[in-house]
Amino acid sequence: MNRHLSISLATVLIFALVVAGCYGLHGKQTRHSSSVVQYLYPDKENVSVTPSVPVLSLPIKAGIAFVPNTEMSGSAYRLSEKQKLDIMEQIAGEFAKYPFVKSIERIPTAYLKPKGGFTNLDQIRTMHGVDVIALISYDQVQHTSEDMLSIAYWTIVGMYVVKGERNDTNTMMDTAVYHIPSRKLLFRAPGTSQIKGSATPVNLDEQLRKDSYDGFVKANDDMIANLHAELDRFKDKVKAKPDEYKVVSEAGSRGGGGIDPLTAILILITGGAALWFGRKRE
């Protein structure tokens, strides 16, 4: 009898530990995310959108927008429209200073239909007069477990696997820049951040809300730096592959008298050599 009781107690104990362990491993988390793929290709059966050769009309009129939410679990804090506009303003400010950018239009989320696809982008193009659009998606996870067993978690934020601790906020943002008429992805860049949890049970809600926005701001800073680097790579790619990207001028735009680096260097080297040989001979 005692033996049976011992076995039963041991079984209950193991079951309890397994349940607690699972809880600890998976943790209690809230998630807040949006996906460019789900927005642009909502129909899983038909994703065969064939991009054509983009014709980039300089200077470029671009738009920037947040992709609509696709997942919201737990009591995740939603970015307000003002916060989204502030983030877009920061990105637009960084890229509007490029000389080949004519303007960057901030497009409120209300203009983007969930799962709107390229049809929705065509509407935005008509309404806002933009040929290129930067679509911002994000994935934010906040661990809010009170379980002392769950000291550390491994979780997936966007495409990244990160270690999260209690009350941490992990954020991944991603900007994909599309040429709307050609359906071509020009370039993309991610940004990540991790805010260490400092909340106590007393101020948990307030602190998590603050951490949520701070996480977006930090990830945005990281993403902007990556976007600059990706833009430089894209410019090199356009130069290297003129068949894949056409660049044309827009009537009424700026004209410039420019000597390109290669011609300038060839002229200077040849002219310099001619002068040197000429003086040597004299």
């Binding site: 080949f100 700026r254 004209g255 390109d260 001619a274």
Partner: protein
């Protein structure tokens, strides 16, 4: 007189330095650039100085750097040879480029860049040196071929060579105008001096 001309010819290229300083200042101080840039509507409104000052304005660091690099080298050399003529040639190249734009490219509302004047300096220098008929002249013919080839290719293709997305549209007619000013000046020099190459006889100022 000859000694005086030789001394002038070997002097500091003051006009080149002034143009370089103005171009850098216009790049660093946007209000100055706004006052100098070729702006079609402002010119039509009476601000005709922009026809001359437009080339002093540049739209990006690369645009400024490579234009100034070529202009400093070719302009500096040319001014040391023809100090008085050089300032007139700069003025002529600037006006020729602006008038070309005004008449042939009404779609261009704003223009900037020293490349028209730099092209003038490169072409005149190369033609003069090539005209000497020495072995080194071949190298100057290569310089001429590079410059002319680029201008013609951009004219025919309608797109800039060797550059990606820029702040502006490259306007080949401005370079061609600069080249034509140089050829005109060269013919005038030959007619006046009777010799085809610089250094074969005393140059005109």
């Amino acid at each position: 007189m000859v000694r005086q001309k030789k001394r002038i010819a070997g002097g500091t290229p003051q006009v080149t330095f002034v143009i370089l300083a103005l171009a850098v200042s216009a790049y660093l101080f946007p209000p100055l650039a706004a006052a100098l840039v070729y702006d079609r509507s402002a010119i039509l409104g009476g601000e005709i100085w922009r026809l001359i000052t437009g080339p002093l304005v540049h739209f990006s660091g690369d645009h400024l750097f490579f234009n100034l690099l070529v202009f400093a080298a070719a302009g500096g050399l040319l001014e040391r040879r023809h100090p008085l003529l050089f300032r007139h040639l700069c003025l002529a190249a600037s006006l020729a480029g602006s008038f070309c734009l005004f008449l042939l490219s009404p779609g261009i509302s704003v223009f900037g860049g020293l490349s028209g004047i730099a092209t003038m300096a490169v072409v005149l220098l190369a033609v003069e040196e090539a005209g000497r008929g020495t072995r080194v002249s071949l190298l100057w013919l290569v310089v001429l071929a590079l410059t002319a080839g680029k201008m013609i290719a951009e004219w025919i293709l309608g797109v800039p060579l060797f550059t990606g997305p820029e702040a502006f549209v490259i306007v080949p007619s401005v370079h061609i105008a600069g080249g034509l000013v140089a050829l005109g000046a060269y013919l005038a020099i030959v007619r006046r001096t009777g010799h085809t190459g610089y250094g074969t006889r005393e140059s005109i100022a």
